[in-house]
C-alpha cells in the first residue's frame, strides 16, 4: 500500500502509547539512520527493516507492524541497542511490540504442536527462551 492517511489520532493511538510505555523508549529520538538495520543479524530474513519498524511506529501505522515478520524474527541480540547513536533501545521496542500481541493470549509459536523429536533435540535454554519470547 503506497498511500497512507496520517492523523494525530493515529500517531498517538493506544498501540503507540503502549509501545512507548512498555519499552520505556522515546520512539521520536530515532532519526532513522539505519545503523540498527545495518548491524542486525536476522535482517536478511526480515520483510521490513528494523529501522522501518520504528518508522512505522513514528507514523502510527500499527497494522503494518503487526502483520510484519520482523518483530518475530528478532533474536534479542541487543546489537541495535549497542550501536544506536541516539541511545534508542530498539530491542525493547521490539519486545514491546511482541508483547502487545502475546498479551492478547495469541502465541506466535505453539509448543503443543511441536513434534517430540524436536522437543527432545533442543536444549532447555533454546526451548524456554523461545517460549518466553514468542508465546504468552
Amino acid at each position: 500500500m503506497a498511500r497512507v492517511e496520517l492523523s494525530s489520532k493515529k500517531l498517538h493511538s493506544e498501540f503507540i502509547k503502549k509501545v512507548a510505555e512498555i519499552s520505556g523508549q522515546n520512539i521520536y529520538q530515532c532519526y532513522q539512520c539505519g545503523k540498527c538495520s545495518a548491524g542486525c543479524p536476522m535482517c536478511f530474513a526480515m520483510d521490513i527493516l528494523p529501522n522501518q519498524i520504528i518508522r512505522l511506529a513514528q507514523l502510527g501505522l500499527e497494522d503494518e507492524i503487526a502483520s510484519s515478520k520482523t518483530i518475530w524474527l528478532c533474536a534479542s541480540c541487543l546489537t541495535c541497542d549497542a550501536r544506536c547513536p541516539k541511545g534508542v533501545d530498539l530491542s525493547r521496542i521490539m519486545e514491546a511490540m511482541r508483547l502487545l500481541t502475546l498479551r492478547k493470549n495469541k502465541n506466535h509459536i505453539e509448543p503443543s504442536k511441536m513434534n517430540r523429536e524436536t522437543l527432545a533435540e533442543l536444549p532447555a535454554i533454546a526451548l524456554v527462551s523461545s517460549f518466553r519470547k514468542l508465546t504468552s
Binding site: Y31, Q32, C33, G34, K35, S37, A38, G39, C40, C43, F44, I48, L49, N51, Q52, T79, R83, C84, P85, K86, G87
Partner: protein
C-alpha cells in the same frame, strides 16, 4: 590628559595562525595597529593549508592562502611568533599582560636562509603532522613547502643527536644512539644552535582574538569502524589527493599503495552521536565528503565512490549545486549509517543500510574514509581556562550573545573567530576573522574617543 598608551594599549594579540587568525591579524594590521600573531606549530596555515582543493570552487588552498601568509610575515605591523604558545594572561581589556613561550627551535632563524640542505639529509624520522600521519617527515623540518616561516625547527623528541645528548647526560644503560649532527655539518651558514633555549616574551596588548581552530576526533573513538590502515579520515585523504602531497596526488591506499577502485565515505562519525561521540553536527563534512568523492573520481576515473549519509547539509553558496553535480557524475549516495567495517583479505567489508530502498547493503571496498567529528583543538581547554573565557558544554568558546554578539567572549576585550567558536566552513571563518578585527578596532576607537574628551574641572 592621560596618555592613552599607559591606560589602553592599542595593540592586539591573535592566538592561532589558521585562516581566521590570519584574516583577523591582517585586518587589524591594515588599519594601522600592531598585532602579535602567536601560532604553536612551526608554521601558520592551520588546517586549510592541508586540503587538496576547497569546495565548492575547487580552488587550491595552498595557492590562495600563500599570498595571505606571506603578507602576514612581511607586514610591518605584524609580529609573527611561530612555534610559540601563550602561557599566561593577566589584566583586562586595554591592558592585557601576556606571557608567551617561544619554544626553542635549536635553529637560529636570523642566520638560516631556508636552503633545505639540513632536512634533505636528516636521518631522524617522525610522523608528519601536516600529512596527518600518512607519511613521515625528518626531525629537522619545515612542515610543508609553503611554510611561513620557511625555516626549520628541530623536533627534539625525534632528533638523534638530542637523544645522544640525553643518553650521555643521564648515563643510561644500553646501546648508545649515534652522535648524528648531520644538519650542523651540512648547514652552510652555521645556523644550528644546540644551546638555544626556550624564551619568555612578554607582550602588552589591548585586545585578544582567539582563533585556535579544531582537531578531528580520533578515528578509533567510534566503535565498529576498526583501526585498519586503509580506514582514513578526511584530512588524511586530502593529503593523498593533493598534488603536493606524499603520493603526488595519485590516490594510493596506505596499506599497500594500490589505487583503490571502490571507496566508501562514511558521514557523521562521532557527530550527531550522543551515545559514542558528540551531539552536534560538524557542519562541513557533508560538503567535504562530496568534494572528496568528486576529487577521487577525477583522480581515478573508473573508480566508484559511495557516500553513506543521514542528511546532506549543503547550506552555503553553491553548495547544493556542487552536491548534485557530484551525484550526477556517479557518486552513489546511500542513506544510512554503517554498522561495521572490517578487513577481509585484500578488501574492507562495509556493512551498512540504505533506508530509502529498505535494503541492508554490504560493500567490499578498497578504502574507507571517515568524516570524524570536529572537536575544539587539543590544548584549547587549558588556554581558555587561563584566559578565563566561558566555554560551552562541547568545549567551544561561548559567545556573549548567541545571535547578536557571536564574536565577543565572556571577557571584555577578548574576541573569538573561526572554529574555536564552533564548526564552520572557510568563508565563515574568514568573515569571523574580519568581524573580530572589526570588534578590536571598535574597542580601540572607543578608547581613543574617551581619551579625547576634555577632562571636567
Amino acid at each position: 590628559m592621560q596618555n592613552i598608551e599607559t591606560t589602553h594599549t592599542q595593540r592586539a594579540l591573535v592566538i592561532g595562525g589558521g585562516i581566521a587568525g590570519i584574516q583577523a591579524a591582517l585586518d587589524i594590521a591594515d588599519a594601522g595597529y600592531q598585532v602579535v600573531l602567536v601560532e604553536r606549530t612551526p608554521s601558520i596555515g592551520g588546517h586549510m593549508i592541508q586540503y587538496a582543493e576547497v569546495f565548492p570552487t575547487l580552488d587550491c588552498p595552498q595557492c590562495i592562502m600563500t599570498p595571505k601568509m606571506v603578507e602576514v610575515s612581511q607586514h610591518p605591523n605584524i609580529k609573527l611568533l611561530t612555534y610559540a604558545e601563550v602561557k599566561n594572561v593577566s589584566g583586562k581589556a586595554g591592558h592585557f599582560k601576556v606571557e608567551i613561550l617561544q619554544k626553542s627551535r635549536r635553529v637560529d632563524h636570523t642566520k638560516c636562509t631556508g636552503c633545505g640542505a639540513c632536512w634533505q639529509k636528516c636521518p631522524g624520522k617522525a610522523n608528519s603532522e601536516y600529512n596527518a600521519g600518512v607519511s613521515e617527515r625528518t626531525a629537522i623540518y619545515i612542515p610543508f613547502p609553503q611554510a611561513v616561516p620557511a625555516k626549520p625547527v628541530i623536533d627534539t623528541e625525534h632528533c638523534r643527536y638530542i637523544r645522544y645528548q640525553e643518553f650521555v647526560a643521564n648515563k643510561t644503560q644500553g646501546k648508545k644512539p649515534p652522535e648524528c649532527r648531520i644538519c650542523e655539518k651540512i648547514c652552510p651558514v652555521n645556523a644550528i644552535d644546540w644551546e638555544q633555549q626556550d624564551k619568555i616574551i612578554m607582550e602588552t596588548v589591548g585586545a585578544i582574538v582567539v582563533a585556535t581552530g579544531f582537531d578531528l576526533m580520533p578515528s578509533n573513538q567510534i566503535p565498529g569502524y576498526g583501526t585498519d590502515p586503509d580506514v582514513v579520515n578526511g584530512i588524511q585523504l586530502e593529503r593523498l589527493l593533493s598534488p603536493g602531497g606524499p603520493t603526488a596526488g595519485v590516490v594510493k591506499r596506505p596499506s599497500d599503495g594500490k589505487i583503490p577502485r571502490e571507496v566508501v565515505f562514511i558521514s557523521c562519525c562521532g557527530s550527531r552521536d550522543p551515545e559514542n561521540g558528540v551531539p552536534y553536527c560538524s557542519r562541513v563534512c557533508c560538503m567535504y565528503l562530496a568534494k572528496e568523492a568528486v576529487l577521487y573520481k577525477n583522480a581515478v576515473p573508473d573508480g566508484q565512490a559511495y557516500v553513506f549519509y543521514i542528511d546532506t547539509r549543503t547550506t552555503g553558496k553553491g553548495y547544493e549545486e556542487f552536491l548534485q553535480r557530484g551525484i550526477s557524475e556517479g557518486t552513489l549516495y546511500l542513506r544510512g549509517k554503517v554498522s561495521r567495517v572490517y578487513r577481509d583479505g585484500d578488501k574492507l567489508r562495509v556493512i551498512g543500510v540504505d533506508t530509502l530502498s529498505g535494503k541492508k547493503v554490504e560493500i567490499s571496498c578498497d578504502m574507507v574514509v571517515l568524516a570524524m567529528a570536529i572537536m575544539p583543538s587539543s590544548g584549547n581547554g587549558k588556554l581558555f581556562s587561563l584566559l578565563g573565557i566561558k566555554i560551552d558544554v562541547d568545549g567551544f568558546v561561548t559567545e556573549s550573545h548567541h545571535k547578536f554578539n557571536p564574536l565577543e567572549t565572556s571577557i571584555e576585550g577578548i574576541y573569538v573567530a573561526g572554529v574555536a567558536q564552533g564548526p564552520k566552513d572557510i568563508p565563515d571563518s574568514v568573515a569571523q576573522g574580519s568581524g573580530a578585527a572589526g570588534k578590536v578596532l571598535a574597542l580601540f576607537a572607543r578608547e581613543k574617543a574617551k581619551h579625547k574628551q576634555p577632562v571636567e574641572v
